[in-house]
């Protein structure tokens, strides 16, 4: 079968599966109808499209997937290592796409509103749901919309300042092969509020699965949102996520994105400064090994004057892994005095790993300061020598410097337990990479 018929066949069977009589939240039913309409004439993306030219969907198409009828059996001890003590009392947990009241703890929400989408009815859901990442954006967004069965809705009321993090935990049980999970996440902050959200995707067992997620973020006027996303799912699975954020007047949004898991993963993020003086920070770290492929595509959009954005992407590759980073900074004609800078750096640890990078500037205003830098290479020989001259073995020195390369992103994660956890993962991987040599 050719790749094309393969992909058509896959799509057709996926659309059939989405008609299975499994309840969908009433707030998303309208969006799902729109997605279905859109998908009637749509095809899965191919390498002929600019947005997909560096990555193929083959690992996804090798399997068929089904929305599970129920969640796998997971108990609290199974996920204890994923729990963040700082966020205790503010955790919403999903297992295989289903809300798990037993594994959630919402005892200390204060005035913050955090609910599973399934409990919302048409009138009390966020009115803008589906407007920041509309189903018609592209095929993958439409699919994620259509497949969606559950999700999280987080609303921070105006003026509320919550220093303690809120945790959205998505667990894959791996109980069955070929599970399809499609969470939809809504996060909004009211004017002058402040909050930190951690969104983690974890797996208790390695298995073939497909996750199609949509995260919509509305950062209100003069509010400040720190958003941390960690994807450490099954290394046999596929993960596609569209994350779209709209920034209000003088809103500050920080997104730190860590990619560790997935055979094939794609994170497609857009941050849209629809009002004056947006302030966005976007960090990313992809730590890949084996046959992992991870594609990060970001768009930082400045529409109004006096915006500022900073982006930093780090990639560390081992085995025959493949990382893609495409980062667009777009400055519309009205966005004068924009100050935007992007840097992307890749570290190749093995001869079979590879990186595709496409940093892109599209500037339509003349009074702006925009820069990007991209570098791909190895550890600095001078630094290695310096460490060795201090008595550190070469492999230790390499592990140390590799860890330091990642640490620049991890250091900025404001939650102690999560930071330590991630540092341990990175350290484990960098040492393993060295010991193989």
């Amino acid at each position: 079968m050719s790749a094309l018929t393969d992909s058509r066949h896959w799509l057709a069977s996926a659309l059939t599966d989405s008609q299975q009589p499994i309840t969908t939240p009433s707030v998303t039913q309208g969006l799902q109808e729109r997605a279905r309409t859109y998908l009637q004439d749509a095809a899965l993306p191919t390498a002929h499209e600019e947005d997909w030219r560096f990555m193929t969907l083959v690992p996804l198409l090798e399997h068929t997937y089904q929305t599970p009828a129920r969640a796998g059996h997971i108990l609290l001890p199974d996920i204890s290592r994923f729990i963040l003590p700082e966020a205790e009392g503010r955790r919403l947990t999903f297992v295989d796409g289903y809300f798990s009241p037993e594994l959630s703890n919402l005892s200390e929400l204060g005035s913050i509103v955090l609910r599973p989408l399934g409990t919302l009815n048409d009138t009390d859901g966020p009115r803008a749901l589906g407007s920041i990442a509309p189903p018609e954006s592209d095929t993958m967004t439409a699919l994620a919309t259509l497949f969606g069965r559950e999700g999280a809705c987080l609303e921070v009321p105006p003026g509320v300042n919550e220093p303690r993090p809120i945790h959205l935990l998505f667990v894959s049980s791996g109980a069955r092969e070929g599970v399809r999970i499609a969470p939809r996440i809504w996060i909004s902050t009211g004017p002058r509020s402040k909050a930190t959200v951690v969104q983690t995707y974890v797996a208790t067992h390695e298995t073939v699965q497909a996750v199609h997620a949509i995260t919509e973020v509305a950062v209100g006027e003069e509010s400040e949102l720190t958003h941390i996303r960690v994807q450490s799912e099954s290394r046999m699975g596929c993960h596609f996520e569209r994350c779209a954020a709209n920034l209000g007047l003088r809103a500050r949004y920080t997104l730190r994105n860590i990619t560790l898991g997935g055979r094939l993963s794609r994170f497609d993020v857009s941050i849209d400064g629809v009002e004056t003086e947006m302030n966005a920070t976007l960090d990313g770290l992809a730590l890949l090994a084996g046959d992992q492929e991870a594609d990060t595509r970001s768009q930082l959009i400045h529409r109004k004057p006096h915006g500022q954005s900073r982006q930093s992407q780090r990639m560390i590759l081992d085995g025959c892994s493949h990382a893609v980073f495409r980062g667009l900074i777009r400055v519309h004609p009205q966005a004068q005095q924009t100050d935007s800078a992007q840097s992307s750096r890749g570290l190749l640890l093995s001869s079979d790993s590879r990186i595709d990078t496409k940093p892109e500037l599209a500037i339509e205003a003349d009074d702006v300061k925009c820069a990007h830098g991209a570098a791909i290479g190895q550890l600095d020989e001078e630094q290695l020598f310096y460490l060795r001259a201090r008595g550190i073995s070469e492999s230790d020195a390499r592990a140390l410097l590799t860890f330091a390369f990642a640490a620049e992103v991890l250091e900025n994660i404001p939650i102690h337990s999560l930071r330590k956890q991630l540092q341990a993962v990175v350290l484990g991987r960098t040492q393993r990479a060295e010991s193989k040599k």
Binding site: E50, P333, G346, L348, L349, S350, S351, D352, S353, R354, I355, D356, T357, K358, P359, E360, L361, A362, I363, E364, A365, D366, D367, V368, K369, C370, A371, H372, G373, A374, A375, I376, G377, Q378
Partner: protein, 478 residues
Amino acid sequence: MSIQVEKVINRPYEAGFVTPIEAEMLPKGLNEDVVRMISAKKGEPDWLLDFRLRAYRHWLTMTEPHWAHATYPPIDYQDIVYYSAPKQKKKLESIDEVDPELIRTFEKLGIPLHEQKMLANVAVDVVFDSVSVTTTFKEKLKAAGVIFCSFSEAVRDYPELVKKYLGSVVPYTDNYFAALNSAVFSDGSFCFVPRGVTCPMELSTYFRINTEESGQFERTLIVCEDGAKVSYLEGCTAPKFDTNQLHAAVVELVALDDADIKYSTVQNWYAGDENGVGGIYNFVTKRGLCKGKRSKISWTQVETGSAITWKYPSCILLGEESVGEFYSVALTNNCQQADTGTKMIHIGPRTRSTIISKGISAGRSKNTYRGLVQVGPKARQARNYSQCDSMLIGQSCAADTVPYIRVQNDSAKVEHEATTSKIGADQMFYFAQRGIGAEEAIAMIINGFCKDVFTQLPMEFAVEATKLLGLKLENSVG
């Protein structure tokens, strides 16, 4: 922009006149017979006709690409004249037999054809519409062992060399416009520098489009054998017509072991008027093959003309330790669109490349840098450094930077940097407060911005290029 910066662009395009000369033209349109007629007119051998026909048939199966950041109405390929040549009574033996009208034309453009009037160290091949009119200093070059002549002559006199290298860097299957060129190319320049020879003078080709309906499809082939060295420059102009002319050239460079080719372009095709009417569509394929060890190919371009520019002079770095360079200034004003950049394909070990690109957009123009740096699995310890800077002048223009970087081995180092800057009102005021007027201030800023590229041009042309940019920018900053 607040003040003077709008007052200082738009001196008339000085090369915009038409030469009243009788031309021999094929009727408009393209089919197999036209391809055969072009070949027959030039008395070509069968193998070349064959090459053209294969290219033509392949072209028919292709579709015009539209990924560049440029918008234009569809091109009617049947509305183009594919062969146009000034009528000459007989074959020319010397410059004295060239039509005086043509000599006057080139003198007006600053290209005197009499050897005694020329820059002493530059040999020129002059191409008028579809044919080469004359090549100067041929004898002097021949004495040094360098072959420099029109493409047609090369086919006649050195068929084996042409056969060996034609299409070896840019095969006719490469892209839509390269296929079209391969089918209908009319003339161009050929240069061959044998083993160990350093070409004693700068070589140059001057391209002139004169006929309104004609396209220009020239073909340039430069080969440097082991240890040979050459510096080559091309210049181009066209009259002002309110229709668009298609220019689809192919340039192939081959550098063997230790060879060194420097290729410079000052492109000043007619850009269309301030409303975007007329101008040249400059859709060009330029590629160099660093075939030998330690070979080097360096592209320098100053792009100021054309309604649309779509070109990516590239280097295939095959030989170990070979070096590719790309230095570019692209200036767009009014409604011009430029989508230009380079590809550096690292295949051999320890290959190195440098990219310095400076884009300046003014008026309502759009200026895109698009580049590819690819490091293959065998290109151990390959190095690339790229610097792409954009400058915006005024509020209606746009600058895009689209670099593609692909690294497939762990010993390579690739670095890319890009910035965007402006000529701001505050800078202009600072200059003014020191007594420096708007024109000089802009000239200084632009020169400073482009310095790294201008220093790469042969001396005679660096001055030319600086002047050209100054002319083009007058009245754009304000």
